[in-house]
């Protein structure tokens, strides 16, 4: 089973993106968001712009016991946990694939206005790839990118 990824040239280089809808008790507007596939991130993380889009109330979330502050895109963020989350993506045949995660990280700036960070994408990190038991295939020179579950 394959999850196609979208390749876009951004900042003059080819990068892989995925769409996903996250459902969790604290998400009030469960609509699709775009994630940059980022194996440099330990976790799937929702950036401030998508916190607003899916309408998460930050004060209702818990902070983790470990790694409470995150350096991301040159700025410092608090990390919160969106517990009992399900991530929905489309496979190559257009069917829904669901991946249950104990928590999805939610990032919120430690200082500054959240709108200053609206260009920063949410990221699909290593926990999603590992817990979903996916293999990541990325061959930008041939415009090939997908997640595969053998």
């Amino acid at each position: 089973m394959k999850i196609p990824l979208r390749i876009r040239k951004q900042f003059d280089e080819l990068m892989a993106f995925a769409n996903a809808t996250i459902r969790a008790p604290h998400i009030r507007r469960p609509v699709p968001i775009e994630f940059l596939v980022d194996t440099g991130s330990p976790w799937i993380a929702i950036a401030p712009r998508d916190v607003k889009k899916v309408n998460i109330s930050i004060p209702t979330l818990k902070k983790p016991q470990k790694f409470v502050t995150i350096l991301f895109a040159g700025s410092k963020f608090w990390r919160y946990l969106l517990e009992n989350a399900s991530v929905y993506v489309l496979d190559e045949t257009g069917n829904i694939v669901k991946v249950d995660l104990p928590a999805v990280s939610v990032l919120w700036p430690t200082k500054g206005k959240p709108e200053e960070f609206d260009s920063i994408p949410s990221v699909l990190g290593c926990d999603f790839i590992a817990l979903g038991e996916f293999q990541l295939h990325f061959n930008p020179s041939k415009m090939i990118a997908f997640l595969e579950k053998p």
Partner: protein, 81 residues
């Protein structure tokens, strides 16, 4: 029903996101620093911020489920995540 909406939104969002990606360089040239909304594979709204876009859709009582919204970074700035 819920699954049908989820599926429909993901498929339409994918179409809008793909259109955005295919036209990314032109969009960056034209809308640097702005927030754009893509619906039915065309730009339907351009505002100074994401908050303004979300507020406008809310005031129209329009569902953003299938709408691709992006804030275009300034041309001189790139991110390393």
């Amino acid at each position: 029903m819920e699954k049908e909406i989820l599926l429909k939104n993901l498929k339409m969002f994918e179409e809008n996101a793909s259109w955005f990606s295919g036209n990314y360089s032109e969009i960056v040239e034209k809308y640097e620093g702005k927030t754009v909304a893509v619906k039915d594979q065309k730009i339907v709204m351009v505002k100074a911020s994401l908050d303004e876009v979300l507020k406008e859709f809310e005031s129209r009582k329009e569902d953003v489920g299938s709408i691709y919204i992006a804030t275009i970074p300034e041309k001189a700035i790139a991110f390393i995540l």
